[in-house]
């Protein structure tokens, strides 16, 4: 629990610091012939993991932003007080305070070492003290994220506090010198503690090389004289030292042991008797512990929603009225959220740095080089002073953010999410504003701080209630997805469950497989414009996830493009490979069933045939044009569906697309395909084959929000059995999805492929038949449901069915009139095939044609006998440009048993 819960903001601030990664010499290539990965990208990749490293004694890392020219900007939790200032006061002359300082610092160090890296940057400046005076280590990951100092030009660490063995290894980290070990931090701590205890600075008047040499000499003669004694002698402090309490003297002496065997590790120190009376830090600090318990939370909710109805509860009387109105609601949100909101409130890191005199580069025109040779050597370039390392941390002001959020009423931080209160919420002023906001385009909503605050609070609550709240999560996601909680919400929607962590751990992802080299090639081209996915860390993670998937799905194989499918999930769950894997495989199971079989032609061909039916159904003009230039969907859409569009869109568009796609059933991607074509429609209609192929493969800027809206519309206007596929995923067994089996929200969320079969359902057609037909077939039960004739078949009809949610249909009966009069579907129109078309292919005017023309836009269902007549008739209609033409599967015969056929009145 302690490990994974994000710390709330509390009284901390945000701190910003910046440094440059070293840049590679020009045109250098790695062993594989590809250009070297920029160092800042490598740092970025390593950094990601720190975002989830929480410990009460460590300042949390929040973000790393890449700027121009390898600049990196770090955002961390920060406190204004630090040991460097506090040590002047008398706080730490008290033995207990001193030992607590040491204990807490060691706790932080031990956590760092447990996680396999080294601080090396220890300095009184980097030991911060929060408002309660408790230690928070900062700047502890610079050594780690820079690859043990390899990716930056400046040396990491402070000369006075470096251990002799660190100095001896030299400033440039090369392969010959191993990186510093964790015990060098203990030395640094020892020096700091000594300084604090004796209130002095170690060799303050020496020049830098002299100081360094002194420390090295401590190491050289350390075996004969204890380094501590040497230091004390040089500063003539021995007497003062002797006056310190025994525990302190013992501790410092222990830390400054030269030999590794004598110097304890941070973990050993914690167990030392000196610290007998201290216990490990708890996760939540005191100020926020008020609401750490569920009960306190409930109290808050009740307090802020003290409407007449709930104030009857007994809890309400226990409220402490004195504390009203002065609480800092923001303080209880997690740091991640606060930083995100800060960004939305107009926070700009580079601006903040500039305000404090950073980033002051001379104008580029003044620094242009004089000469560039053909080898890319640049001459006449001056080093910019601003590229030097500066360890200053700037405090970001949160005042502006607090001011911006002032008007948000407290109850909005503690929303009610269950029952009727949900609806009642809409009465308050702020939620009315929200309603207006929710009408705005998605891009604006994602940038609006008020809106996002509400969404974040809501999703935070909902996700904490998962899986109980799954239904509500889905409903809310339909509106939109707060980017901050996308990873968790996606996992919830994909119904990831079980112990995926240990499942993932149990699979061997390291042993070489024959596919490895192929994976490597593809991964290095997968969404590489994104800096996180470009990093070596991401490459190895992606490879592990893909291998894990391959091993856990032995009947499937790797298809190129699968890396792209995996990429968005990895991006979102970068620090949780197991979850990324679980999401990715759930996604593939749902939407890409059988797509990755070694022979997937049958599956794909069927998918594409259904896709062309859908195009004909929704856009006959485009379909006819594509047919005339023989532009088959196979030529372009294979890539779309095989990667579920993950290979054709950049990540930010994939996110918006998937936010909706994940809510839809396995047929929804087909509608997305149609929607994409709709956006390119005007170009496509004008061009010939080669130009069309170019346009589609180039994929001009697709407006993804419009695309999503269009695909929802298309989806709603498609009878669900039209997307029936033989190779779709078989219905899940009931017991599998017991927690998730819930009532379907509406007619459309039911997946036709997961419904039980009956004699009125669709049956598989052979691929040839499917490809020969132009229109989708719909099942008889669909037809019945669509014209509201489901009286007999009430078992499957949705419970809350409103007429408006269904397409209005027009049934054309193409049998000859005698058959028609013997029995037909009520309200169907008779248009015998043999009389309907003139020799040129036009329709012969008749009653049916007027109906057709006056009700354009309705779904037209062609009903005939079993056989090819109906599909051919429908194809002719499509050729004439009639939209929404479909064929009833199975012919009129299959309806005979239902007894709904009526006999027409004799006068017709």
């Amino acid at each position: 629990m302690c490990k994974n819960s994000m710390q709330p903001l509390g009284n901390s601030c945000l701190g910003v610091s910046t440094f440059f990664a070293s840049s590679h010499a020009d045109d250098q290539c790695g062993a594989d012939g590809l250009p070297l990965t920029p160092n800042s990208i490598k740092v970025q990749g390593r950094f990601q993991w720190l975002k989830v490293l929480y410990h009460p004694r460590l300042c949390q890392y929040l973000d790393l932003v890449r700027g121009k020219h390898e600049r990196l900007i770090l955002v961390t939790e920060h406190y204004k007080k630090c040991l460097a200032e506090e040590a002047e006061d008398d706080t730490f002359t008290d033995e207990n305070n001193f030992l607590r300082l040491a204990y807490e610092t060691i706790e932080g160090l031990a956590h760092i070492h447990d996680n396999g890296f080294v601080h090396r940057n220890l300095h009184p400046k980097n030991i911060l003290l929060d408002t309660e005076g408790r230690v928070k280590l900062s700047n502890y990951a610079v050594y780690y994220i820079t690859g043990c100092g390899a990716d930056v030009n400046f040396p990491v660490g402070y000369p006075a506090y470096m251990a002799p063995e660190v100095l001896m290894a030299g400033p440039s980290s090369s392969s010959s010198c191993p990186p510093s070990g964790p015990k060098s931090d203990v030395w640094s701590l020892g020096v700091i503690l000594l300084e604090v205890a004796l209130k002095f600075k170690i060799w303050p008047n020496l020049s830098l090389p002299q100081l360094l040499a002194k420390i090295l000499l401590l190491g050289k003669y350390g075996t004969s004289q204890h380094p501590l004694d040497s230091i004390l002698k040089e500063h003539s402090m021995a007497e003062k030292f002797e006056n310190l309490p025994l525990n302190i003297r013992y501790l410092i002496r222990l830390c400054l042991e030269l030999l590794m065997s004598n110097r304890p590790s941070a973990k050993d120190l914690l167990k030392n008797n000196v610290f007998g009376k201290f216990s490990p830090s708890k996760c939540l600090s005191k100020s926020s512990s008020q609401c750490s318990s569920v009960r306190a939370y409930v109290v808050k909710i009740l307090k802020y929603h003290s409407t007449s109805r709930i104030s009857n509860y007994r809890f309400a009387s226990k409220l402490d009225p004195a504390r009203n109105g002065e609480e800092d609601y923001l303080a209880e949100r997690s740091l991640k959220e606060v930083y995100y909101l800060w960004g939305l409130a107009g926070g700009d890191l580079e601006n903040e740095l500039r305000k404090h005199g950073f980033l002051q580069r001379s104008p580029p025109i003044c620094s242009l080089p004089n000469l560039v040779t053909e080898y890319g050597d640049i001459l006449g370039l001056e080093r910019d002073r601003s590229s030097l390392y500066d360890d200053t941390v700037i405090t970001l002001s949160l005042d502006q953010l607090r001011k911006r959020l002032e008007h948000i009423p407290p109850e909005d931080y503690y929303p009610l999410i269950e029952g009727e209160e949900m609806q009642q919420m809409s009465q308050s002023q702020s939620s009315n504003d929200l309603k207006e906001l929710s009408q705005l385009p998605l891009v604006i909503r994602e940038k609006d701080i008020d809106y996002q605050l509400h969404r974040i609070v809501l999703f935070d609550r909902l996700l904490k209630g998962y899986p109980h709240t799954i239904q509500r999560i889905k409903v809310e996601t339909r509106r939109d997805m707060p980017p901050l909680y996308r990873a968790e919400a996606w996992a919830a929607i994909l119904e990831v469950s079980g112990d995926f962590m240990s499942e993932y751990d149990a699979i061997d992802k390291e042993s070489p497989l024959p596919i490895d080299s192929q994976l490597l090639i593809d991964i290095r081209r997968c969404h590489q414009y994104d800096e996180i996915l470009y990093s070596p860390k991401a490459h190895s993670k992606l490879k592990r996830i893909l291998k894990c998937w391959l091993i856990s799905n032995p009947h499937l194989v790797y298809w190129q493009g699968q890396d792209s499918v995996c990429a968005p999930f990895l991006y979102l769950n970068f620090n949780n490979e197991a979850l990324a894997f679980a999401c990715c495989s759930a996604f593939i199971r749902k939407y890409l069933h059988k797509f990755y079989a070694s022979d997937n032609s049958a599956v794909l061909d069927e998918y594409l045939a259904v896709f062309s039916h859908l195009i004909a159904f929704h856009d006959p003009e485009l379909s006819n044009h594509m047919r005339s230039i023989s532009l088959e969907p196979k030529l372009f859409a294979t890539k779309w569906f095989l990667t579920m569009f993950a290979h054709v869109f950049p990540l930010h568009k994939i996110f918006h697309l998937y936010d909706t796609l994940l809510l839809g059933n396995s047929s929804f991607p087909l509608c997305v395909g149609v929607a994409i074509l709709q956006q390119m429609r005007d170009y496509l209609l004008m061009e010939d084959f080669s130009a069309c192929i170019l346009i589609i493969s180039d994929m001009p800027e697709i407006d993804i929000e419009r695309c999503v809206q269009d695909s929802i519309r298309i989806f709603c206007h498609t009878p669900k059995s039209a997307t029936y596929r033989q190779h779709s995923r078989p219905p899940a067994k009931k017991e599998d999805s017991s927690i998730f089996s819930m009532k379907q929200i509406s007619y459309y969320t039911t997946d036709v492929n997961e419904m039980p079969r009956s004699e009125l359902s669709r049956e598989p057609l052979s691929l040839e038949e499917l490809q020969a037909e132009r229109c989708p077939r719909i099942s008889a039960e669909d037809l019945l449901e669509l014209c509201g004739l489901t009286g007999i078949e009430n078992s499957r009809s949705p419970t809350r069915k409103s007429k408006s949610s269904k397409p209005i249909i027009l049934i054309l009966d193409i049998r000859n009139s005698e058959d028609f009069s013997r029995g037909h579907i009520p309200s169907s129109i008779n248009m015998p095939f043999n009389q309907a078309f003139a020799p040129e292919g036009d329709l012969v005017p008749c009653h049916g044609v007027t109906q057709l023309n006056s009700h354009k836009g309705r779904v037209v269902v062609v009903v005939g006998n079993r056989g090819n007549n109906a599909p051919n008739f429908a194809a002719q209609l499509v050729m004439l440009g009639y939209p929404k033409v479909s064929v009833m599967h199975g012919g009129i015969e299959c309806l005979k048993a239902t007894g709904i056929l009526s006999v027409s009145s004799p006068d017709l």
Binding site: F154, P164, S172, P182, C366, L368, V372, L379, E531, E701
Partner: protein, 497 residues
């Protein structure tokens, strides 16, 4: 850290048999301990009941072994330290000292800030304020004065040339009558000397004028900046305005802007994430981009929009560049270099050293470049042979970047390259451009200035296609891995003929 292999032993009991598992483990462990145990379990078919115990044992093993390893390596270093001589310690200390003083702000002696950065800030601020107009008037006044001198110089030199050629003609006609060979030679020598002297005089005068102007300009900028806070028309402004108003109002016929052939395109590059570029195809004299044609309407000076833009963006992060093709000598005597130089001379450059100085700096850099180039010699040799063979009709083999400022202030970056490597040079130029915030770049589309007979339409198509494709490739290359605030760039491609 050198990877170390350690042996991990695990013993467990099953019924009566005792099984021992021995595996080599490479430290430090790359994957998590849990995963490693998972691998062990599956590859050795271990019974599931040992898993928890195995994991515990293994974790303990990893912890102790890793820390042992770290201790060993540190101890190794310490041993080295113990045996190290004092001078070696001194050397290491110096190394560290150098690393700190060169890279960290806290340890460097504060170098004094360059005075010029002051000026650039002031100028940048003023040009984006209401002082814009005043500045333009000032610059115009100066450029008129310079042009005047240039005009006089050209006229007087022309006069002298005429006179000299007449004298020479006379002398040659009367050869063997009044003059002999020696006389003619002496005359020629005298002519040359006089000419040189005159040129020098004029150059001197021009230089002095420009120097004076430059200093005056800087003073004005400072004074102007001082009273930007005054909303009223300050004395300096009035003085400057008076200066420019007192200029004789020449009724220069408005140069008719030929529309020229000009077409714009927008392209999206990249497979998933698209970057937008604007391309403009222009058919024009490239140096028109550099010429300054002030125009007056109703007695007020109207700056050209192009000039306005380059002045406003001069010290900004959005620069423009122009690529000129020149021969392999760093000078300004021939071809387009000469034209360019004469444009530069038409007015004083207030921001950068004059062209000759810049050329000298470039010349110095070329020397250094040659030294560097020797280092690449082996590489060069097998490329050199290809270069020559396909040179063909192209007489352009050298490139320069000049930032596209009206007064042609900058003349930097040079490449000594033969034709196919022109493309390589183009790549380098684009790379530099991206690095130094140059977002508009103008490139000669056909990579030549003069048309020859063999340059058929077909040839032009081919050449243009080549350049387009290369530039496209370079642009994609430059933007990859640079998501940092990359703004959509704009490229002007121009051609002649």
């Amino acid at each position: 850290m050198a990877d170390q292999e350690r042996e991990f032993k695990y013993t467990f009991k099953m019924k009566s048999s005792v099984t021992t598992l021995t595996v080599p483990v490479v430290l430090p462990l790359t994957a998590s301990a849990k995963e490693f145990v998972g691998r062990l379990m599956s590859s050795h078919d271990l019974p599931c009941f040992v898993e928890d115990d195995l994991f515990e044992e293994f974790q303990k093993f990893i912890l102790t072994e890793t820390s042992k390893l770290q201790d060993e390596s540190s101890s190794g270093i310490l041993k080295g330290l113990e045996g190290a001589a004092h001078d070696k310690i001194g050397k290491i200390a110096d190394q560290w000292g150098k690393a700190y003083t060169q890279e960290c702000v806290g340890y460097t002696q504060d170098r004094d800030q360059k005075g010029s950065s002051d000026f650039t800030d002031l100028y940048h601020k003023l040009i984006h304020s209401s002082a814009l107009e005043v500045l333009f008037n000032l610059e115009h006044t100066y450029s008129v004065a310079v042009q005047d001198v240039v005009f006089q110089r050209d006229r007087s030199i022309q006069k002298r040339q005429l006179k000299q050629s007449q004298e020479m003609e006379e002398a040659v006609q009367n050869l063997d009558i009044t003059h002999d060979d020696q006389h003619v030679n002496m005359l020629a020598a005298r002519h040359f000397e006089n000419m040189q002297r005159e040129c020098q005089q004029w150059d001197m005068e021009l230089k002095n004028l420009q120097q004076a102007q430059r200093e005056e300009f800087k003073t004005y900028i400072r004074e102007l900046a001082n009273d930007t806070n005054n909303t009223e028309e300050s004395s300096i402004r009035q003085r400057i305005r008076a200066m420019s108003d007192s200029l004789p109002v020449e009724d220069t016929p408005e140069p008719v802007e030929q529309p020229g052939m000009n077409e714009s395109f927008t392209v999206n590059l990249g497979s998933q994430l698209k970057t937008i570029y604007n391309l403009r195809l222009m058919s024009m004299d490239v140096l028109d981009l550099c010429r300054h044609r002030p125009s007056r309407s109703g007695g007020r000076l109207m700056p050209q929009p192009q000039r306005l833009q380059s002045a406003m963006s001069l010290y900004s992060n959005s620069l423009s560049a122009l690529v000129l093709l020149v021969d392999d000598r760093v000078s300004s005597y021939t071809g387009i270099k000469k034209e360019f130089a004469s444009i530069c001379q038409q007015s004083t450059d207030f921001h950068f050293p004059d062209m000759d100085t810049q050329l000298r700096v470039v010349q110095q850099a070329v020397h250094k470049g040659n030294v560097l180039r020797k280092a690449h010699k082996a590489d060069e040799r097998d490329r050199g042979s290809q270069d020559n063979s396909s040179e063909g009709s192209s007489n352009s083999s050298n490139e320069e970047i000049s930032t596209n400022l009206q007064t042609g202030q900058l003349y930097k970056g040079q490449h000594t390259l033969r034709y196919p490597s022109v493309l390589l040079a183009l790549r380098n130029i684009l790379k530099i451009a991206v690095y130094f915030d140059i977002y508009t770049i103008t490139i000669p589309l056909l990579l030549v200035y003069e048309m020859h007979e063999e340059m058929t339409i077909q040839w032009c198509y081919k050449r243009a296609e080549l350049v387009f494709k290369c530039v496209k490739g370079f642009m994609i290359e430059m933007t990859s891995g640079r998501t940092d605030g990359e703004r959509p760039g704009r490229s002007n491609l121009w051609y002649r003929g």
